[in-house]
Amino acid sequence: MLTRLAARALAGFGVVAGVVTLTFFLLRVAPGDPVEHLLGPAARPEQLATQRHALGLDRPMAVQYTAWVTRFVRGDWGISIAKGRPVRTVLGDAWPTTVRLVGLSLLLSYLLGIATGAVQAHRRGTRTDTALSVITVTLFAVPGFWLGLMLVMVFTYWARALPAFGAAGLDADYLTGWSRIVDGLRHLALPLATLTLIGVGGSARFVRGAMMDLAAQPFVTTARAKGLTPWQVTRRHILRNALTPVVTLLGLSLPALFSGAVLVEAVQARDYPVVTAATAVSATLVVAGNLLADALAAWLDPRIGKRQA
């Protein structure tokens, strides 16, 4: 199992290296130039040339690539061309807020999704199942950006109940104790609800499907035959076994921790160092998520590791 994981990790490293290399060259081949974005349309050719030289962008691509890789692996991610700040701070600024928000929403959407899927599978074919299916497939289809807008429209503009943006109110520094916590929660409510709701649909559908598959297995028949109540069969025998693939799915959601907003802005400004580093981070998250999912699945269900070894 460990050898297999090591091999997978090595392959994953290859993927990250490949993606980063691809990004590096794609950026330089594509039209657009960070220096033109930085200096604006009024810049004279010699100014552009000087700036390019200062940033090392006039060197051959292979030289630039080697230099970038050597610095990157040593932890020197360079300086953002557009912002003049270190790439690490540009990428790291939003990190704590994103992680808190996405982490919480993942947790909530999986808990809700597992509960919903379990109820549906337990009462399959009934009106409850159908009603919940309609809700989950709708949530599954709703695009996050639109749901966010609708929630803002209802709760901010119509009900005037919740703030639409920011992590704290303007007066947050003057609040104390409970009111400060309440203020933070009120600001968290809409983004958290949006992310949780769009996640619930997918996880509930997945859990329901996994549990329906398991319900046809011989060991479930055995459990029923020995006289357990239907709910005991569902909870102890079906749900527990269905959680293995759910854990896998959770591992695959790891990349959601990285926000795409930074990337879009950086690509449009042709901010080479930021884009390449952002790609490296998100590719690493994807690969690590896959690995984590595999390792967790093998740990929860020893048969998986043995079957594939």
Binding site: G12, V15, G18, V19, T23, L26, L27, A30, P31, G32, V137, T138, F140, A141, V142, P143, G144, F145, W146, L149, M150, V152, M153, Y157, I198, G202, R205, F206, R208, G209, A210, M212, D213, L249, P255, G260, L263, V264, V267, Q268, V275, A278, T279, S282, A283, L285, V286, V287, N290
Partner: protein, 288 residues
């Protein structure tokens, strides 16, 4: 097939998609005509749904900030959004079937290379790739189709590869080989037709996914460019007028949800009807 027709999910999906496609195809008949037509900008902008303007024109879904009819834009936007989704899936399914078939039935080092490529492409974060590709070149409708097509073929390739491998070992294929059919003929006439069932299911789910991704890209300004209407850029234009004219952002979003639900339900129903033995759950990606 009978099971499929009795399935309420399939019925909803087919009826809903047929309605939307009919509206899109017959757009000039079901709307006032030009989606970019602006009325008197002061007198006709932000008219609420179901209102009639000074010239007597009826606006079932109201007007936007330029006095353009939202229903007309919605229907013409359906042409773009559905067209982009269908074309992108056509590209990715064609690519996926080709790669999967060659990887499953090819000889020499080709299968290994293709499988490696597929695994690599699967490991690349799709959202990152989409944003990167869409933001690098000047945004256009064609670019969205190409980018979505090129980033969506891997799942299909995996499916087809598995099916082809399994079918290649079946007696009827051995029979075809034994009577002297050439490999390419065996693949095209005997294996592929039998391997396409899961592809149809994946394509139905893929269309919904592609439409969502198109709207996300257009919402971010990286996709279909205004004034050409697409559901994504209509939602984006409604974002700024959420207070004055909530219908501008609401209408295309509801349409989007209905179409994606229809695709998903149709895909689910087809999977249950066509391959009862297959795993009954299939998580599919989510844009953002």
């Amino acid at each position: 097939m009978k099971r499929l027709l009795r399935d309420r999910r399939a019925a909803f999906g087919v009826v809903m998609l047929a309605l939307v496609i009919a509206c899109a195809v017959l757009a000039p008949l079901v709307t006032g005509g030009d989606p970019n037509a602006q009325g008197d900008i002061v007198a006709t902008r932000f008219l609420a749904p179901l209102s009639i303007d000074a010239t007597g024109a009826f606006h079932p879904l109201g007007t936007d900030r330029f006095g353009r009819d939202v229903w007309t834009r919605l229907v013409y936007g359906a042409r773009i959004s559905l067209g982009v989704g269908l074309l992108a899936v056509l590209i990715s399914v064609t690519l996926g079937v080709a790669v999967g078939a060659l990887a499953g039935y090819g000889r020499g080092p080709l299968p290994l290379a293709l499988l490696g490529l597929t695994d690599f492409a699967l490991a690349v974060p799709r959202v990152v790739l989409l944003l990167l590709l869409a933001a690098l070149w000047r945004p256009s409708t064609a670019l969205v189709v190409v980018v979505l097509g090129l980033t969506g073929w891997m799942g299909v390739a995996r499916l087809v590869h598995g099916e082809v491998r399994a079918l290649a070992a079946r007696p009827f294929v051995e029979g075809a080989v034994a009577v002297g059919a050439r490999r390419i003929r065996v693949l095209a006439r005997h294996i592929l037709p039998n391997a396409l069932t899961p592809v149809i299911v994946a394509a139905a789910l893929g269309v919904g996914n592609a439409i969502t991704l198109e709207s996300s890209l257009s919402y971010l300004g990286l996709g279909v460019q205004p004034p050409t209407p697409s559901w994504g850029n209509m939602i984006a234009s409604g974002r700024d007028v959420l207070v004055n004219a909530p219908w501008v952002a609401t209408a295309p979003g509801v349409a989007l949800v209905l179409v994606v639900v229809a695709c998903t339900l149709l895909g689910d129903a087809m999977r249950d009807a066509l391959e009862p033995s297959a795993i009954s759950h299939q998580p599919s990606g989510r844009p953002c």
